[in-house]
């Protein structure tokens, strides 16, 4: 079992990236065809939006229709407008939870990346140690976060410390295994070059193998961003009294459905933003090193 789940996840992630780059039907037009009268331009933009986002548009239309058809009252199933109203009228309710969740997620993400990279480098230096650790890392990676949170809570208590430990562990595995596999991916000819130059271990690590691993490391960051957010939300939901996860639970318990839905929406936006930031960071950094 040399290939770990993490590296396969990387493959699928790469594939997702490439699919998003897939040119839409509008992209094949010549520039000359685009310069038309304003009405056509608007039509073209609308068409482009529909082509790119039709499933989301369909969902937004289907939702109220479905509610109406099933006769659900607004108290049970808030419509988009109710959710928006609560967001606008009580921004203070959401602000602090967002900050907490973001803080835990980003802090845990960075800490977990750091630990993963450092351990990855250390482990990479010894084929024996990496041979010993990688399969175990695979098994630990499979522990569902839903089991990890209660176990960590039993170990370290129900507080925020547990949340941080959990994110660090969650982020650690992709960073660790992708660092090792990235450092091992250096071509034989480059290795030969450094051998011929008579370079020491430090030079090989910092001038050859670690730079070569940067794309993999950035990939680990991108993979971990949504996983980290999900982990924080779940941990907050179950344990700590702060953050968006906690808001989701308390709102649900108090039957404040607008608030619950709005919190879910805010969590989604936060996750998408983190995902986007990680993607941009990855693209920027990889552009510079390759």
């Amino acid at each position: 079992m040399t290939e770990s789940i993490t590296t396969e996840r990387a493959v699928v992630d790469q594939a997702a990236e490439e699919l998003l780059e897939r040119p839409g039907p509008a992209a094949t037009e010549t520039p000359a065809a685009r310069r038309r009268n304003p009405l056509q331009v608007v039509g073209r933009i609308l068409a482009a939006i529909v082509v790119r986002y039709w499933p989301i548009i369909a969902m937004l239309i289907a939702w109220p229709v479905w509610l109406w058809a099933n006769g659900y009252s607004r108290a049970v199933a808030p419509g988009p407008l109710d959710v928006a109203t609560d967001l606008v009228q009580h921004p203070d309710v959401y602000l602090l939870p967002v900050l907490w969740t973001a803080l835990f997620a980003i802090g845990g993400l960075l800490l977990g990346m750091l630990v993963g990279i450092v351990l990855g480098v250390l482990v990479w230096m010894s084929p024996l140690v990496s041979g010993l650790l990688l399969p175990s890392a695979l098994i630990l990676r499979v522990v569902p976060v839903t089991a990890m949170i209660p176990i960590l809570a039993a170990l370290f208590g129900y507080g925020s410390g547990t949340v941080v430990v959990m994110v660090v562990i969650l982020v650690f595995f992709p960073a660790f295994s992708l660092t090792v596999s990235g450092m091992s991916s250096v071509s034989q000819s480059s290795r030969d070059l450094f051998a011929v130059l008579g370079s020491g271990l430090a030079a090989r690590v910092f001038r050859l193998h670690l730079p070569a691993a940067i794309p993999s490391i950035m990939l680990a960051l991108r993979i971990s961003a949504p996983v980290g957010i999900l982990g924080v939300l779940l941990a907050e939901y179950l344990l700590s009294g702060v953050g968006l996860g906690d808001l989701l639970r308390t709102a649900g318990e108090r039957l404040e459905y607008e608030r619950e839905w709005a919190a879910a929406l805010v969590a989604t936006v936060l996750s998408v933003i983190c995902f986007g930031l990680a993607r941009t960071a990855e693209r920027r950094v990889v552009d510079r090193v390759t």
């Binding site: 396969e8 493959v11 499933p55 989301i56 209660p150 989701l248």
Partner: protein, 249 residues
């Protein structure tokens, strides 16, 4: 020693070392009373009086994972084929898949509970995450046959559907099975997340109730079962994937 054998030996040795360390932490109480010795967890797992409780939870989670996984696989392949046959729909589907992936499952819970009920939610969360993985891996697999093959089929005068059946689909199989190996842990994870939102049975329910009632062996045993399930599905998918790669790549 061949390198494959060495990898296997190292791997097994590593797992043994891991277990021994966990055992030592447990017996010495290094991390407190909530880290049990591995032997006690094993004893709990093998004690017949616990089998009903664990078995019920396992059966619930596995059936949700299996049903959701099946729905996800069918839907993922279906959407990928739709995107391949109707390129106009592809950009929308690609972006929707990326959005579904970025939305944390917990944020979908209120919506899913309303539409599918508390018992249906775990299945749907599994189905959503599996659909994403399978859609992405199948789509990129369908795109993976090189230009020479496309050229061949266009000079043979083949219709799009013929090329899809004879080249794109066979060429996509290795990636599809890559996706399946990845979906294995996602299935158990999705099912247990879904169970947190008011399901009556399942490993996810067991995790929470064991934690709240301070039943440490039960908590660890349930976690071990979840890991074993994921590994079994993962191993099966990996074997299938190897066979497919040998045949089609």
């Amino acid at each position: 020693m061949s390198s494959r054998l060495r990898t296997a030996v190292y791997g097994v040795a590593g797992v043994v070392v891991l277990l021994v360390i966990a055992q030592i932490i447990g017996t010495t109480g290094l991390l407190g009373p909530t880290w049990p010795p591995i032997t006690e967890v094993a004893a709990f797992l093998f004690d017949p009086s616990n089998h009903r409780l664990l078995g019920n939870a396992l059966a619930a989670t596995v059936s949700e994972a299996a049903l959701g996984g099946l729905i996800g696989i069918v839907a993922g392949i279906g959407f990928a084929l739709i995107a391949a046959l109707l390129p106009l729909l592809a950009p929308g589907l690609d972006r929707f898949a990326a959005l579904i992936d970025a939305v944390p499952a917990i944020a979908l819970a209120p919506f899913l509970i309303l539409v599918f009920g508390r018992e249906g939610t775990p299945v749907i969360i599994v189905a959503l995450s599996v659909t994403f993985i399978i859609y992405i891996s199948t789509s990129s697999g369908l795109d993976s046959a090189g230009r020479p093959y496309r050229d061949l089929f266009s000079v043979l005068g083949a219709r799009r559907a013929v090329r899809l059946g004879r080249v794109d689909v066979p060429a996509a199989l290795p990636k599809l099975f890559d996706g399946l190996t990845l979906a294995a842990p996602a299935m158990i994870l999705g099912a247990t997340i879904g169970e947190w939102f008011g399901a009556r049975r399942g490993l996810g329910v067991l995790f929470v109730s064991a934690m709240q009632n301070y039943r440490i062996e039960l908590l660890w045993s349930a976690a071990v079962l979840a890991v074993l399930c994921s590994l079994i599905v993962y191993g099966a998918a990996l074997l299938a994937q190897r066979a497919v790669v040998r045949r089609f790549a």
